[in-house]
Symmetry: D2
Subunit: 341 residues, 4 copies
């Protein structure tokens, strides 16, 4: 059955499979100490125009968030995030497992405003009882957000300024980063992200890889003994070269961007199609996740014909659903979906 349920329903881009096959019997050292990881790091650093970047590869998003956040925070600190942030809602308490609180702030369309963060930090330090409270030790944002929305360059700059003022790192979860960067409606580049963030990760799992996320510490600021900390969090892949090889492929000849663009074009095709059918949107998303509001009858009928995510009830007769495109989505698939609506 055709599915728009998520951007991780298929395997990997064929260029990756090809290289897996080609290099299969090569022998390399484990745990990331191999030439493929080295090559991938160099290409990513170049793409970020950030030669001093420290780069590490992990397997999945929750794992990456858990390891990076726990490693960067002091014992007495928590991570500031949007109430709707992945670390606050959909990681089963992975952050708290490592002893840290998620300090959830109000969001708008999935985004955390610099003003909100700034007001929170100011109030925290003015509060006479803050010695009994969890210190805000870093700021976590996702780009695109859980709702597919994007920060503008000005918004990122403002967040970066606030973090700088309070000397806490800004961390960007880029599980779907490619789809953000290739949006038709963004002024933010990879280079901007490397400049504004202290650490971020480039998502592979949802953008063409079998699995894998590339963590970039942009200011030569990787936590001490970070490989040991990755191991401690159960996140060190024995055959680390699998990660290096995938990212090396994705960052050769701009493949990461090309395939991300494909997802965006397909999302745009879908968006236009939905508009033509007068189907309203829950939110105006410029990326690969489209949130349509369907009549419940339509939803029921459609659910036996195509895969998608039920997002949230809108009113008695309407429900918001999510259609996700990906690097693997074709025009035929989109047209097939539209034909069913």
């Amino acid at each position: 059955m055709l599915s728009f349920e998520s951007d991780y329903t298929e395997g990997a881009h064929e260029a990756i499979l090809k290289r897996l096959v080609e290099t299969n019997r090569e022998q390399t050292p484990g745990y990331g100490a191999d030439p493929y990881c080295e090559a991938a790091k160099a290409k990513i650093a170049a793409a970020c125009r950030c030669p001093e970047a420290d780069i590490y590869f992990l397997t999945g998003g929750t794992q990456t968030n858990q390891t990076v956040i726990d490693s960067l925070l002091e014992n007495y600190e928590g991570v500031v995030a949007a109430e709707s942030g992945h670390v606050n809602v959909h990681e089963a308490g992975a952050i708290e497992l490592t002893g840290h609180k998620v300090l959830a702030l109000a969001q708008k369309e999935g985004k955390l405003a610099a003003e909100t963060v700034s007001a929170y930090l100011k109030a925290f330090y003015e509060d006479g009882s803050h010695e009994h409270m969890v210190f805000p030790g870093m700021v976590y944002i996702s780009h695109p957000t859980e709702l597919g929305t994007l920060y503008t360059k000005a918004e990122l700059a403002a967040l970066s300024r606030v973090c700088g003022e309070y000397k806490i790192p800004l961390y960007l979860d880029g599980a779907r980063l490619g789809y953000g960067l290739m949006s038709l409606d963004t002024d933010v580049t990879l280079e901007d992200i490397a400049r504004f963030c202290d650490v971020f990760y480039i998502g592979g799992t949802k953008v063409g890889a079998l699995f894998g996320e590339a963590v970039v510490f942009t200011k030569n600021n990787a936590p001490r003994q970070f490989v040991t900390q990755i191991k401690q969090h159960g996140a060190l892949l024995a055959k680390g070269r699998l990660l290096g090889l995938q990212f090396d492929t994705l960052f050769t000849d701009g493949l990461y961007f090309t395939i991300s663009r494909q997802a965006i074009l397909m999302a745009d095709r879908l968006k236009k199609g939905l508009k033509e059918k007068k189907i309203p949107f829950l939110i105006d998303s410029p990326t690969n996740q489209q949130f349509a509001v369907l009549e419940n009858d339509t939803l029921r009928r459609l659910s036996s014909q195509v895969g998608f995510s039920v997002w949230e009830p809108v009113d008695e007769n309407h429900t918001a659903v999510r259609f996700a495109t990906s690097w693997a989505t074709t025009a035929e698939m989109v047209d097939q979906l539209l034909a069913l609506l």
Copy 2:
């Protein structure tokens, strides 16, 4: 350069790559709710003759140990293990990260004797101050051990009895399980392991897979909400089908056993060759890891020609090294190594 450094230097068995390629564009639900995982579980349960088994797939060994142990222990309990056990020495404190102590007991050739465990448990409960001590909540063993040695069926049965007497689970780390089961010198079958252990894992990473471990709860005794706990530990793979597909392949037509046998035959060829050259062994290992004692001059010369692990100094002029064979090792590779010695 030829390498016997570990059993994770190559990619995966080609049958696995083939299926990855074949199924690549299929769309499946994420997080293990796909038909490949279902099929793999059925095949593993059948291979274990354990129809009531609860089976889950995780990515790596440390991750698996951390998640399983944390999920099975009560807050006030620790895990009993050999001093040389992987969880005690080489997981960077992954068990302690989740709040649990490793209760390390004396070992012999990497093995934990039932008598040792029994004496410890008896003494614990007789100690007047045990209310101030960490309760022994499970027993962890690895098979093969870190030193390549194997438990006999009688030894496993005895450990199982002790655990049963104290009502604590017996957990077997099978990172290299295939190499144990296919040893030329073992009376232990997969079925025995399923019968004697409350939970164990079948290692894929070191036995033909790109990555992956299959956790088997043998008595319908998976921890409550185990998927959530996997997620919480950062260990839930988005494209879970990759794990299902690999184990489905490995447990089709006995591939797991066939390729494990290959590693054992190669280890045996190496062992015989070393013996012919009068090279002594640190320990008599019946599995894929062979621990040879080299003269330091030989070691230095060899290290520029072939990869291996330096294990430990034996005396001023000798050092123990480890040569690991794997499913990917060929007779030519072994002969090449022997020719260099």
Copy 3:
């Protein structure tokens, strides 16, 4: 300088000191295994009309919350609390340190409504992605709340019903329980609390003791090996009899209630005095904490003459402050404060 800063500015009720002096050279076993603890437990169980109660004594409130909550929750569970709850705001992340999330819900006047909890639990289990979320494992309330307000008997009964429906315990933080029970405006008795809650604690630190909180598991439901868990959390007092002796004294001849009543009468005297002076209140508190709204000029002048807590700014010219009475407050002290306003 006269102080209304908190209810822990003095030592202990003199009856406690007297008994400390009288029994000082008696020799008793440590860690709570002494006759004073036994006697105190019997008296508390009787006062709660809860003969099957399991009772333990700890030193302070945060310690008690941390130990009780960690012991009752499963790994994958969090504690539901009001956004303003002590565990969410003022315990420096003590709950998260033990690996659990505080699931903060909207509150009204410091109270968590049964409807809010019920709606949350319902939505949680209906959410298709709840397997990736922290499970709500217990409900935490405080009585009186952080704002001095009280639940009614009907409100407690409703919360108890919701918890019962979802089979999760209701835990009541009674750091200031005496002041709640002796309020002039409450229909809730100690017996009610023992009936509605699965566990609660009777605060001693703020109600006449030097320190100490009595945890009551009302349904013979103390966590397994709870003494060990107390020890593990660094919360087991060597000279446990100090806790027993204090609670034995407080629960002899109703001393706990008599001295709580004194605080309430003094709060009422203060409240009336403030009303006469037309000083408005931030909230209408029926307990020992009174939240008055002062002009900033008044606040500044007053702060050099008397101790109190600055609560929060109300508008540009006004600030809410907290005056706390306690068992040690006298009419003279209240009149002295009123004379300064």
Copy 4:
């Protein structure tokens, strides 16, 4: 019944009770921000001849070890301790609860030799796989040890040198520090301890106080936001002045030392008496804990007449027991015990 079971069977030295009574109705700020804590800190710093000391008061020993060790270690570090160390055996896993491993090394008479630590650290950094191991982040010793033995000045100096070489702190658990310093057979002064250790605590609970331990960071090296970390560990006493007042009393006119000396003289009286009766010792302890080897018949008879701790079986007919004297032990009590043997 007369008891030599431990050094925490009585209340507190009467000078402490007297001051508790005298100051009872004084009003002071909470959480240690009171003049008694200030005064006590000044007196302790002076006694240590360590004007730059950062001093904090906590309630009990396990709590102190847990909070100090967790605060000083990096995420990826563990604490090196003797196998017999309190943190390794008798704290119910309090260290592991905070995510850190206890790296247990062989001991002799309860003591950790500098050579043992040095060899361990050297081997750790030489081990090619140490990136997968827990980093040794501090060294924990107790003085007196669990077996009543004492380090010499030379031994402390050597441990201090090793720690300095590897840039990790040396932490001394002084739960019974007074009894160590006043031993008739020691060359170690409080000043020495302040000089050799990076942090240590002066035990109050077992040495004349109702409860309380004074943590001394000797090199202006208290962890950042340490009060918040104390709170986070549930270890911040609301009425902090109780701790200040007790230590202020103990460090006025040398009371801490005078009463410690009394325990030592009584232990010496007991030791001589036991020797006269030809009762052998398990170990030659120069402090307040005496470990005698009794015939099992004697043990049985004695146990109905006097309190003591059963330590460990020695052979079929003999058992080692512990008699502890304290500041509260009188010559009459010792003579009464001796008369029973």
